[in-house]
């Protein structure tokens, strides 16, 4: 499978502050991409 550079994805927290996934990963990380908010 392809690898994805997980740095610089442009994600922000609820305060709008940039977040790097690397800070969140334990051994692994499950990313759940939502569709629209219900």
């Amino acid at each position: 499978m392809n690898d994805i550079p997980i740095a610089g994805l442009g994600l922000v927290d609820l305060k709008g502050q940039p977040v790097e996934l690397q800070e969140l990963v334990k051994s692994y990380i499950l990313l759940i991409f939502l569709r629209h908010l219900a």
Binding site: D3, V12, G16, K26, I29, L30, L31, I32, F33, L37
Partner: protein
């Protein structure tokens, strides 16, 4: 996933939910739903693009499986608060990654009801080799 969060944590798997909604909208959403996960915003959809999550065609968005799912959710009291405001065609997806960004599992939803089951995700995780020295909670 919410009810089995501990099962993921026990396996050293962090969970992050990503939405393309603005952070301000997510704050009120989270206040209401109290999800026990890290919630991240991607209003520019940079990460959505990076993970090749495309927009769905209308016949996938309104597939019988989707209509059945929404009927079930509405019957269970879900309110359609964001109706008409959001891009309903954006596809979601689920990805399991390691610390290096290797994709160990990927699922790009083909319609809104198309998500891997928690059992399937745990099955995939259980087949992975343990990471030496990794923090396990």
């Amino acid at each position: 996933v919410r009810s089995l969060k501990g099962e993921f944590e026990r396996r050293g798997v962090a969970i992050a939910v990503v939405s393309f909604a603005e952070p301000a909208r997510l704050v009120s959403y989270q206040k209401h739903h109290q999800w026990p996960f890290t919630i991240l915003a991607d209003p520019g959809r940079n990460a959505y693009r990076r993970f090749a999550l495309k927009r769905l065609s209308w016949f996938r968005v309104f597939s019988p499986a989707t209509l059945k799912l929404y009927w079930k959710l509405l019957r269970n009291g879900m309110k359609m608060s964001g109706r008409g405001k959001d891009d309903i065609y954006q596809a979601g997806g689920d990805f399991l990654l390691d610390r290096q960004g290797n994709i160990l599992f990927e699922h790009r939803s083909q319609d809104p009801a198309d998500r891997p089951s928690v059992a399937r995700l745990l099955e995939v995780i259980d087949k992975l080799k343990p990471v030496p020295g990794a923090p396990v909670t």
